[in-house]
Symmetry: C2
Amino acid sequence: MRSSQYLLSTVKETPADAEIISHQLMLRAGMIRRVASGMYTYLPTGVRVLRKVEQIVREEMTKAGAIEVLMPMVQPAELWQESGRWDKMDAELLRFKDRHNRDFALGPTHEEVITDLVRREVTSYKQLPLNLFQIQTKFRDERRPRFGVMRAREFLMKDAYSFHLSQECLQKTYDAMYQAYCNIFNRLGLNFRPVLADTGAIGGSMSHEFHVLAASGEDAIAFSDGSDYAANIEMAEAIAPTGERPAPSQQMAEVATPNVGTVADVAQLLNVDNSQIAKTLFVHAATADDAKNTSKTVQLIALVLRGDHELNEIKAEKLAQVKSPLEFASEQELRDLLNAGAGSVGPVNIQVPVIVDHSAAHLADFVVGANKDGYHLTGVNWDRDITKYQVADIRNIVAGDASPCGKGKLEIKRGIEVGHIFQLGETYSQALKAGVLNEAGKHQIMTMGCYGVGVSRIIAAAIEQNHDDYGIIWPDAIAPFQIALIPMNMHKSVRIEEATTALYNQLTAAGFEVFFDDRKERPGVMFADIELIGIPHSIVIGERNLDNQEVEYKNRRSGEKELLNIADIVSILQQRMQQK
Amino acid sequence: MRSSQYLLSTVKETPADAEIISHQLMLRAGMIRRVASGMYTYLPTGVRVLRKVEQIVREEMTKAGAIEVLMPMVQPAELWQESGRWDKMDAELLRFKDRHNRDFALGPTHEEVITDLVRREVTSYKQLPLNLFQIQTKFRDERRPRFGVMRAREFLMKDAYSFHLSQECLQKTYDAMYQAYCNIFNRLGLNFRPVLADTGAIGGSMSHEFHVLAASGEDAIAFSDGSDYAANIEMAEAIAPTGERPAPSQQMAEVATPNVGTVADVAQLLNVDNSQIAKTLFVHAATADDAKNTSKTVQLIALVLRGDHELNEIKAEKLAQVKSPLEFASEQELRDLLNAGAGSVGPVNIQVPVIVDHSAAHLADFVVGANKDGYHLTGVNWDRDITKYQVADIRNIVAGDASPCGKGKLEIKRGIEVGHIFQLGETYSQALKAGVLNEAGKHQIMTMGCYGVGVSRIIAAAIEQNHDDYGIIWPDAIAPFQIALIPMNMHKSVRIEEATTALYNQLTAAGFEVFFDDRKERPGVMFADIELIGIPHSIVIGERNLDNQEVEYKNRRSGEKELLNIADIVSILQQRMQQK
């Protein structure tokens, strides 16, 4: 591609409204332009990267036995009503009416459509397992779209759905998808980790997220330094402390703690470590049947954590006694129950269930709120001062915690979620009565898996992980062009033009995607653009080097420069790209 | 691909709700399934064909210098308001509000979005010409979607938009697109014709449609049998008869024609040919300014055609005197003006403008309505009996008319429109003020072209053109699989299984897409499915032929069968597919 026949659209200034580096660089490198909030046009450089990511995903899915289909973006309400999600989903599901006043939605995902398809097309166990995927445009009407294509409203996704008659069969496809995802992210040239994940609102039992590691990632991931264990911090188990709990050595005593509310304040006032304080959070209890609960009294539950630990809301929500999604008690509810404010509440002598985190349950002689404004209790001990309580894992892990796998300690890194695999189970197949005749001739509901890759999101994640002060540093596999040719003052030198054109033809014929910068621009402008758009290999063609039949090669990632003989260029570059 | 690992989904019965053969066959061959009116899921066989068509279109567009972009499907109202189409377009433009109550539409086309992009990104004549294309999902809320993907609401389209500073430059890109479209349809293996077309509501000056020829096509196309001339029948010029008009030989006389209304009835009663009758149609006249026209009297215009000719409404609409879109006079309006019904009106002694088709203007001693119910006039002659009239081309051509190119006579064939190229001019660039600095440093509005290919529609058109009683007959280039392997009783014969597997591996390694029918089905079922889905080349592996190291080859299109030596298969098939 010659730049004179291309739409480069690079921008020097950092756009004011782009908060993260990938968004800034995608705008500056001429990859995307905003059409409306969360909606983008991909410019030529953006499309080139997008199509490469798409093709790698398609090839690896196909290799893993998945079959490509294509479902519509616009979906009829009936299917969403059948699954129950028409009413359950919030405004993220963009609903509208067609000209005949029928209800439709823009598809944010396709569980309903695929389950409907499969229940019609698949009638016998002989047709199973089946794993269908598509690469298709989705729409989620995010309340606050931002970060460019990282959280867009309209985006390109690969979604796959598998159908089975047994958990073993589902597990086999799940494992194959796990491996396919590893292959995809390896081929993309990204540093990634699969991590155990929460199955969340979509339901199901087993789930892994695939994260591209980047300091700017919005998710925290816990890694063992002694094994392959990795889990989303929401999921990572904080294991119970080992050894005996110390015996009580103090008497419980009430101390005045006027005007202090936070753990840190109390710790400072009483001259103890944060970890010696037990903080108590009150949340709403689950009710047997919310609809029938006509009493206006809200039942509360006390959650007790060490002062230096944070509540893990996902773990708390999973407790049977706790209302899900989590609701914290209001100041008024606390006052009605305990006659004290949030800064002075504690688990001693209260009439509601108490759930204690493993670490907090290991404390002796600790400090809690006295349920009396401006007072705390010191020297508190479990079993002696609080006799009725339950112990559970309800905190976020912290760096240095023992790994739940039993090997090593946990580290925390940041990641960007680019893939997610789920064992869905029968959530959708039950709702849509999707079953087949099994080997015994009986009708049996299928069990399902689903597997997503954020195709457009991968681009942003790749940039978050691969950039420097000058711009993007593409892995070879998804670079918009692999090689840039930068001729020096070509418009004044026939010799330079001829040498560059010859090299262009040679490299193109060898199958490389070459960007020939034939603009009448100063060398500095050309260098800056090539670095900004992140072409991995560039070749500068100048008069002096041509005298020796040489050109200057520069590697975008290492920054290394070297002189190469023109005759060797093709074979050297072929070698370097194969080594990746 | 082994059929046991595929979703074949063929259907024996012809679906009741599918009216045309391509829709029936796409359903029966397991290519598509209906999700809602005009919305389809592409099953694996459908996706394979769709992706091939898409890739051929992409490659030829790229070769022709167009650059790929990708615009969003959801478009903000503001751009459509700026072009004026937000209010102008009917319900085909599906409008809706997002969660923040902002107006959006599903994109049926992208003139607004691309023009907005280019006015921001392109500032100098140096960046022109520019031709940007995308292959993207469109939505048109058709009032009556039908014929499967032939007229769907959601469909895949390639649309391209070019930008220029001069008509010469536009013409050059237009010509390149014309050639690219010829290349596309040739590579697809389709019998097609580019035809001159009306520019219609989208505006602009020059336009060609690309039609796949098929007896079932909904458009009529006029071809010269003596040249390359082809035009949509809406556009084909009916040239004026040559030679002198015969001199009058009869006196004008009133004859009673009771209870006859149609041309054929009158001709029979008076014992003359249909072509000797001049029929008169009355339409509304264009008014200088409709908004200011407060008079309730509608002005009429008389259009006179030979009795054996049909009015071409598009030609009539283009006349300055005629209201566009065309409105025919009501029975009451005729009676108010002429005191006669539609079956008895004529151009003699009337007070409204008369526009006569060239052929009708060449008549002498002809018959017209007498403007008196139940009476006609015979022996009517131009200039003598009707003195004030204008001559124009306002009829549809008929087979046998002289070609307007001057060579040969016209034939009429049916076609399916699959591509359309337009010289848009400044319609959108003016509305959106899309200009650049020209060579003189002055701001100049760009001129535009636009170029569409109905990617998913091509599939239906290809089937309309290529099928027989047994199913689809794919051209090699877009067949879902190129070769089918049909083993006889494989599940009872290890030898057959081994031979078929070896052949499968060999053909796959040679780069062919092979469908290995490894189902436990009767041969008849397998043959029927392979013919239905239209795989061009099939190979039957049977015990007896294996004794001679042979297999049976069958060509889907010709139906010819022959025995081939297994050792030669790869080279023979390579040769046959290259010859295409």
